[in-house]
């Protein structure tokens, strides 16, 4: 079981952050992002947060204009991933203070640092917000 990729995509379908945990070529990434964005963005609030795609699942959640899409193996615990997305958002909130699409866009490196502290090779490393943010805060103090 594991996370295959984490995507953050806005309403218009533009990718704001992409982190893959299995190697895909650029063409494969482009095709995949196109397909799943089309699939997930068309869904409404009354539908569930899971979409089956090829031989894996996408667990997604929408926050205002931003969609968080996480690709996982079929036997992964879907609700655990759904709440893990929320944990990512809460962590970013804590750092940026009411995080928005632009924060992620213009602080690409910080978003990457945070994800790096939370997920490694498709597995969760840390779920405590203060532990996740500690290295980033340390760095900011140093600057």
């Amino acid at each position: 079981m594991g996370i295959r990729f984490i995507l953050m995509v806005n309403k218009q379908g533009q990718t704001r952050l992409a982190q893959y945990y299995e190697y895909l070529t650029l063409e494969q990434r482009r095709a995949l992002e196109g397909e799943i964005v089309r699939k997930c963005l068309a869904r409404n609030e009354q539908q569930c947060s899971f979409v089956e795609h090829r031989n894996y699942k996408i667990v997604y959640r929408r926050y205002a204009s931003l969609f968080f899409l996480v690709g996982v193996d079929n036997d992964e615990n879907e609700l655990a991933i759904l709440e893990f997305i929320h944990l990512i958002v809460e962590t970013m909130d804590q750092h940026f203070g009411n995080v928005c699409e632009l924060d992620i866009m213009f602080h690409l490196e910080k978003a990457h640092f945070m994800l790096e502290e939370m997920v490694m090779n498709g597995h969760m490393v840390e779920t405590s917000k203060s532990n996740i943010l500690a290295p980033i805060q340390l760095m900011e103090k140093a600057v």
Binding site: L17, C48, N55, N77, E78, F106, L108, M120, A142
Partner: protein, 1016 residues
């Protein structure tokens, strides 16, 4: 909005953002790439800050979907920067841009290593993370020991160790040898004592990866996992930062329960009890709350607990509780819970005895088939498909057919395939099957693949009773004004082949049938026209005496297509015309199709192929595999009440996907190959090939196309061609029969259980059900024909050893299609012996003769009855049986290592009663049992095993009974149990026992010297 520390990067990002269209964006990106390229070229002038900035720009461009084919070197070189900010960028961007096989990674290996062994823990973290994400084999070999050391080091802080755990997981995946199983299992267990939840979360992922490959080595982790669950779910003993909406780390709970699902069973009763206590608490204590996040998190835990309960085969009561919960979930409004309820209910189907309880929810599940959400509809479809069996097939298939007309396009193909498979697998009678498939083609022709209608044709061809019915149905559909092309094909084919069977009905004369078919010709495509032409030729042949008017009509059609641009159609038209002028000779060549050889339904194969694997074997799949091996297939289905000549399809189980099954198909494909060499254009795929192959018998060698006249006059040539072709497939088929599953393993399973499958191949399945009473036994052999045509020359002989009296009731020589016959076999045990009875079974199918010799599970332990004696009785008896030959002692070496508990379980499984506490030494084990045979009557046997905790590979055993032969046989029997690796759990044995290990004790038992040594 606070801007990033790197101004240039922010400017670039907002430039891209302000682009009006994709073209502008491309221009801006190209400009930037050019800029970066020049900067990198004169690298000398670049400050670390600038380098860092450009590398981030590259990552951003890459994320937008543009190729970045340079600058990798610069990125990798940042890894060796002395300062943290640059180093960090180097590591992170490298793991985003490069893959594990990239050459540049090798350049960094030394730096990475230095960072790992160095003292700076932030550097350690960076290096571990990158290897954890993209490290390959090379890294695994050179860095694994260092990573292991960090993970186990007491001086390392948790922030390093949690990364080391996942890094090791990656290295283990790349090269499993880096983790030495023997040494590592203790360390893994030790890791689970960790207090820090970050380290524990990572360690649990590592454990999941390790046990999914080899659970045997990690037994000691089970109690630890249970304790972690207790700590989280019961004691809530977790730091505040790790509780999520009041729930102690839901992710760690989920992961821990997942790890437990990779163990086939949990044997230690204490651990099992504590685990069930926690699970029960989770099942009962999860309430629906207002807060979405809390609700999701608690249900994540709940669903994982459900999965674990199912896996552990809990008591029926707890299972029913689970189904009740799931039943509640599939009816709630919350779509996520509804989806998961359906998904987990489908998993529940794999638990034995649960199907009936699940069936109660059928109505609700059917409602979900109409849910507005496609994800939910898919789950409902899957579940209905899984729960379908003979009892509800009609309802479910009809429901699915109805749904087909309104379902979305994305699902229709899958749906059609599933309907076709269910109809085939569970048809109560074959005419229903034909009805369903024709309806399917009618409603969703576009989504019905050729395989589906080929299969109908095969069934109809192989079952004479079905032919008039199918032809009539075909005619009814052709009467409709607009029908799908596939319907035209199948109807034309059926009417061509079997239309003459309807001749006496009104409106079904050859002429009427022809015009009915011919009406459709203008509407169909060339492949269908070829089929129509064949069917005209058949109609012509069946019209005896010839009807000149019809003949002229058909000839006119053939002539018209003689000059058709499509080569296939042209060839058929020319040849049919020539052949049909031959009059009587036509009869032989265009005779009815021979029966099709049986093969696995290509549909089922297709459905199985569609299920693609994920990298890691999931626990559920593993379980499914374990279950197929001991699935009891026998169903008590009454034969139909005479009206239908076809037996019920009750024995058709889901054929497990096995490469053996392709054998039949394979032979055929080859035979098609030989056909096409003879001049037939086999442009159509495999199945169409062998469907139309024999029709195309009339297709002559290519030479005759050129000189048609010559061919027609030369009768001999054509008949020899026919002979060759007709024989070819038959010869290909012999020796293609391979058993499904492992025969030895099945036998071994049956030695422990009283019902199950003894043997299976593509044509037949032999099941056994046994009852044992004292020294009598009654076995019932269930012989199930899996085909649509009969098995003949069935012969069953029992080769019984001298100590068993066996009587098999009459086995019929023919087993009708899809039928099952039951043959009782009476067994009487005369005296103790370990010899095994053999069933010599043979049958003929088509031209292949199959003969197998199968060991029958009428083994010594079946005549044992668990006995219970008091301590006093045991010792009295023990003392009275003072020495050889009534009491034998032997030191057994080469025992497979097992704990005393495992040994006790093994004994219990073989009906020896273990008497705990009887022997004061905790390393010893005493047991007793009663053996029944005609010569000994019921006789008490006593067993004592003395083990050496320092060396588990040897033990001393003492067996005592009132009969010398019994004592000896029982001793040898138990010895075999202890030495050979018999499967006590349903899990597939990881490796077969090495032959040498088995051979040594066996030799010892026949060697008088060794025997004597044993007795002393």
């Amino acid at each position: 909005m606070a801007l990033s520390g790197m101004r240039g990067l922010s400017v670039f990002i907002s430039d891209v953002r302000n682009c009006q269209n994709k073209e502008q964006e491309r221009l801006r990106v190209d400009k930037e790439l050019g800029n970066i390229r020049t900067k990198f070229k004169n690298e000398k002038g670049l400050s670390p800050y600038e380098k860092k900035k450009y590398v981030w720009k590259m990552l951003y461009i890459y994320m937008l979907g543009y190729d970045v084919d340079f600058g990798h070197m610069e990125t990798v070189s940042l890894i060796s920067a002395p300062k943290y900010p640059e180093k960090q960028v180097g590591y992170i961007v490298t793991s985003c841009l490069l893959n594990e096989n990239h050459d540049f990674l090798r350049l960094a290996i030394n730096t990475v290593r230095n960072d790992i062994v160095g003292r700076n823990e932030t550097f350690q973290c960076l290096a571990l993370t990158m290897i954890g994400n993209i490290g390959g084999r090379e890294f695994a070999e050179s860095l694994a020991p260092d990573v292991q050391r960090l993970l186990m080091s007491s001086s390392c802080r948790p922030l390093v160790r949690k990364k080391a755990a996942l890094c090791l997981l990656r290295l283990y995946r790349k090269n499993p040898d880096v983790v030495n199983v023997d040494g590592w299992s203790d360390q893994m267990a030790q890791l689970l004592d960790e207090r820090d939840l970050g380290v524990l979360t990572s360690a649990m992922s590592l454990l999941v990866a390790l046990v999914s490959n080899n659970h045997d080595a990690y037994w000691s982790c089970i109690p630890k996992c249970t304790r972690i669950l207790e700590r989280l779910a019961r004691n809530q003993d977790v730091p505040q930062e790790y509780t999520y909406y009041g729930i102690p780390s839901p992710w760690l709970q989920v992961k821990t329960m997942r790890a437990l699902q990779y163990f086939p069973a949990i044997e230690d009763p204490n651990t099992r009890r504590s685990l069930f206590e926690v699970l029960q608490r989770i099942l009962m204590g999860t309430d629906v709350v207002k807060n979405v996040n809390k609700n999701n998190a608690s249900h994540a835990v709940l669903f994982e607990a459900l999965a674990l309960v199912m896996h552990l085969d809990a008591e029926k009561e707890m299972m029913s509780q689970c189904v009740a919960l799931l039943g509640k979930f599939i009816a709630v409004r919350e779509p996520n819970i509804r989806y998961l309820g359906l998904e987990n209910m489908a998993r529940m189907l794999m638990v034995t005895d649960m199907q009936d309880i699940i069936k109660r929810h059928q109505a609700q599940i059917i409602t979900s088939l109409k849910d507005p959400d496609i994800s939910i509809r898919r789950r409902a479809l899957d579940l209905l498909y899984g729960m379908c069996d003979v009892s509800n097939a009609k309802d479910i298939v009809e429901e699915l057919l109805q749904y087909l007309s309104t379902s979305d396009f994305a699902m229709r193909e899958e749906l059609s395939l599933k309907v076709a498979i269910l109809a085939e697998k569970f048809a109560p009678d074959l005419s229903w099957y034909v009805d369903v498939i024709l309806q399917l083609i009618d409603k969703a022709g576009d989504f019905v693949s050729d395989d589906i209608w080929f299969r109908v044709v095969q069934f109809v061809t192989n079952n004479e009773d079905l032919q008039p019915y199918a032809a009539l149905k075909a005619k009814e559909y052709l009467d409709k004004p607009a029908i799908h092309e596939t319907m035209v094909k199948v109807s034309a084919y059926l009417l061509g082949e079997f239309g003459h069977l309807l001749a006496r009905r009104p409106g079904c004369s050859a002429k009427e049938l022809f015009s009915l078919i011919h009406d459709k010709l203008p509407t169909v495509s060339p492949p269908a026209i070829s089929i129509l032409l064949s069917s005209y030729a058949k109609i012509l042949m069946h019209t005896q005496p010839p009807d000149p008017e019809l003949q002229n009509q058909i000839w006119a059609v053939f002539r018209k297509y003689e000059s058709c641009i499509d080569a296939e159609i042209q060839q058929r038209a020319i040849e049919y015309l020539a052949l049909s002028r031959k009059g009587a000779a036509l009869m032989d060549i265009l005779a009815e199709m021979p029966k099709f050889p049986e093969r696995q339904s290509s549909l089922i194969k297709k459905a199985e192929d569609a299920e693609t694997d994920t990298a890691e074997k999931s626990a559920i799949k593993l379980r499914a595999q374990q279950q197929t091996s001991n699935a009891l297939v026998v169903t008590d289905q009454q034969p139909l009440n005479g009206t239908s000549p076809v037996g019920p399809l009750s024995i058709v189980k889901v054929p497990s996907m096995s490469s053996d099954m392709d054998a039949g198909d394979h032979g055929l494909t080859q035979s098609n190959g030989s056909l096409s060499e003879m001049g037939q254009h086999a442009t159509t795929p495999d199945l169409l090939g062998d469907l139309l192959g024999p029709v195309a018998i009339e297709a002559p060698p290519s030479a005759s196309v050129q000189s048609e006249q010559n061919f027609v006059s030369d009768q001999e040539v054509s008949s020899s061609v026919v002979d060759v072709l007709a024989l070819a497939p038959a010869e290909e088929l012999t020796s293609a029969v391979q058993p499904i599953g492992n025969i030895a393993e099945r036998f071994q399973n049956l030695c422990l259980k009283d019902s199950g499958v003894l043997y299976e191949d593509p044509y037949i399945q032999i099941g056994i059900k046994a009852e044992w009473r004292m020294h009598h036994g009654r076995l019932i052999l269930f012989l199930g024909n899996k085909n649509t045509s009969p098995l003949v020359s069935v012969l069953a002989l029992i080769l019984s050893p001298a100590h068993l009296k066996m009587e098999l009731s009459l086995v019929p020589e023919i087993i009708p299609p899809r039928a099952q016959v039951q043959c009782p076999l009476e067994v009487v045990n005369i005296r103790p012996s370990r010899d095994v009875a053999v069933l010599d079974f043979s049958y003929k199918f088509a031209t292949s003769l199959v003969n197998v010799k199968l060991r029958l599970p009428a083994v010594l332990n079946k005549f044992l009855q668990p006995a219970s004696v008091s301590m006093e009785e045991f010792f009295n008896q023990w003392r009275s049986l003072s020495g050889p030959p009534l009491k034998l002692q032997e030191v057994v070496r080469g025992v497979r290592p097992m704990t005393l508990l495992e040994m006790a379980n093994l004994f219990t499984n073989y009906r020896l009663t273990v008497l705990p506490g009887l022997d004061p030494n905790p390393n010893n084990l005493a047991a007793c049992t009663t053996f029944c045979s005609e010569s000994t009557r019921a006789m008490l046997c006593l067993v004592r095993i003395e083990t050496d905790p320092a060396d588990r590979s040897q033990l001393r055993m003492t067996i005592a009974s009132g009969d010398p032969m019994l004592t000896f046989e029982l001793k040898e029997f138990i010895k075999e149990l202890l030495v050979a690796i018999l499967m006590t759990s349903p899990a597939p044995a990881p490796t077969p026992p090495p032959a040498t290990e088995l051979a040594i004790p066996a030799a010892a038992s026949t060697d008088p010297g060794a025997m004597l040594a044993g007795l002393l």
